[in-house]
């Protein structure tokens, strides 16, 4: 039993952990080279590319944000200016409207006055015309009545219109003359 242990111990002593075996070095080298190429040619370039892209994206976003900020400020300024313009414009329009209103009222007043005058005048004219026509018709009526009456009195038909008219006119003229003298006496 002890013998076995001693043998095992001497066997172990024959192993020198500091002396590399060829296979050990070779496979270490293979592993190293594979991983080196993998990181060198695949992983790191991809990571570098990504970092560059990310940097660009961040810079691009910052530029974009600046641009947006600038645009917003410009829009605000424009809006404010437009608002001021609109206010001025509104005031101007209101002023014009007020003046227009005054003018319209004045014009309306003038028109109404004129119209009233016109209506009054035409009414007056109509009244005059109706009076005149009433006078004429009254005269002819009175003539007829007078002739009928006279015919009855003198028993002779005054059929001759010309004669009749002359008689009537003379009668009326006499009547007017007598009236005039009566008026003059008074």
């Amino acid at each position: 039993m002890l013998q076995a242990i001693v043998t095992a111990a001497t066997e172990e002593e024959s192993i020198n952990p500091l002396l590399p075996a060829p296979y050990d070095i070779i496979w270490s080298a293979v592993a190293f080279v594979i991983i080196l190429i993998f990181f060198w040619k695949y992983v790191l370039p991809r990571v570098q590319k990504l970092l560059d892209e990310r940097g660009e994206a961040i810079e691009g976003n910052i530029a974009k944000a600046d641009e947006a900020q600038r645009k917003a400020e410009a829009a605000l300024e424009e809006y404010t200016a437009q608002l001021a313009d609109a206010r001025t414009e509104a005031g101007r329009i209101r002023e014009t409207a007020r003046e227009d209103g005054k003018k319209i009222v004045a014009e309306a007043k003038v028109a109404a006055t004129t119209e009233a005058a016109r209506v009054t005048a035409s009414a007056q004219a109509q009244i005059d015309a109706e009076r005149q026509s009433a006078l004429v018709s009254l005269r002819s009526e009175v003539g007829t009545l007078a002739i009928d009456l006279a015919s009855g009195v003198i028993g002779e038909s005054l059929t001759d219109d010309t004669k009749a008219a002359a008689v009537v006119d003379r009668f009326l003229a006499d009547l007017e003359a007598s009236e005039a003298t009566a008026g003059g006496k008074k």
Partner: protein, 266 residues
């Protein structure tokens, strides 16, 4: 421990203490060639495949507004790029060495993490070949950076620092030579290797002791298993920290060495 080890030979209850043999499991493929594949090499293949799959999935469709997977990958890559590489080397030089340093970080991290993944249980970086090879790469990288930046003057600057009286070069130059050109790669490799080896040893010790106390010793001995299991859990978390830390240290030191080589004066 010896009495325990001899209690039941070959039985399943036997105490399997951690041993260096764990790091040299039986060969599975290509025995006798320089391309032998054993369990640890298979774990390395798995790590490579998983790394590629994860990062391929995360970066396959890159979006300006990242999804969950892409965010995580970006977080990790950002950490390496900004906190380690650009902070040390600056952006211009950092860009040149970024693929190398990113690879170092994620490869070492993934290889370290297999030490605490159930079923794998051994770090891909716990056999000397891997840390040594990466230390060599780091070594070549900083010498290349120095020679490219200061053709002809790099070794002189490194070995004969300016501002030192000439007679002190007798002392300073050997020290500089040893520390810069010999100790740097060795410490890089051994720091990583030993951390991973020790981590594996600790975890195996804790969990095999737990197993032994429960199933073999039995009785009151089982109570010990609570303690050992708690230690096992604690060390698992600790190993998680160590895995990240060692990847970080290795990569950061590589970056610092490159930066020193690029610096005008030493």
């Amino acid at each position: 421990m010896l009495p325990f080890a001899t209690s039941e030979e070959g039985g399943s209850g036997e105490f399997h203490g951690p041993s260096l043999a764990d790091f040299f499991p039986p060969v599975i493929f290509f025995e006798g060639t320089p391309f032998e594949v054993n369990r640890i090499i298979l774990i390395r293949f798995l790590v490579v495949a998983v790394l590629i799959l994860l990062f391929w999935l995360a970066t396959r469709r890159m979006k300006l507004v990242p999804g969950r997977g892409q965010s995580l990958a970006e977080l990790a890559l950002d950490f390496v790029r900004n906190n380690m590489v650009y902070d040390t080397l600056g952006t211009r030089d950092g860009k040149r060495f970024l693929p190398l340093l990113t690879t170092l970080f994620f490869l070492i991290l993934a290889m370290n993490l297999t030490g605490i993944i159930p079923g794998l249980n051994i770090a891909g970086s716990s056999v000397i070949g891997f840390p040594l090879f990466l230390a060599l790469i780091s070594y070549v990288a900083f010498i290349y950076a120095g020679v490219k930046k200061h053709p002809g003057a790099f070794f002189k600057n490194s070995l004969f620092p300016s501002g030192v009286p000439w007679y002190l070069y007798i002392v300073v130059t050997p020290i500089e030579f040893v520390s810069t050109f010999i100790l740097r790669p060795i410490t890089l490799a051994l720091r990583l290797l030993m951390n991973m080896v020790a981590g594996h040893m600790l975890l195996v010790l804790c969990f095999s002791a737990t197993q032994f106390f429960i199933f073999t010793a039995g009785g009151l001995w089982s109570l010990f298993s609570i303690g050992t299991f708690a230690f096992g859990l604690a060390f698992t978390l600790f190993e998680l920290l160590v895995a990240v830390l060692q990847a970080y240290v290795f990569t950061l030191l590589s970056a610092v060495y490159i930066q020193l080589a690029l610096a005008e004066e030493h």
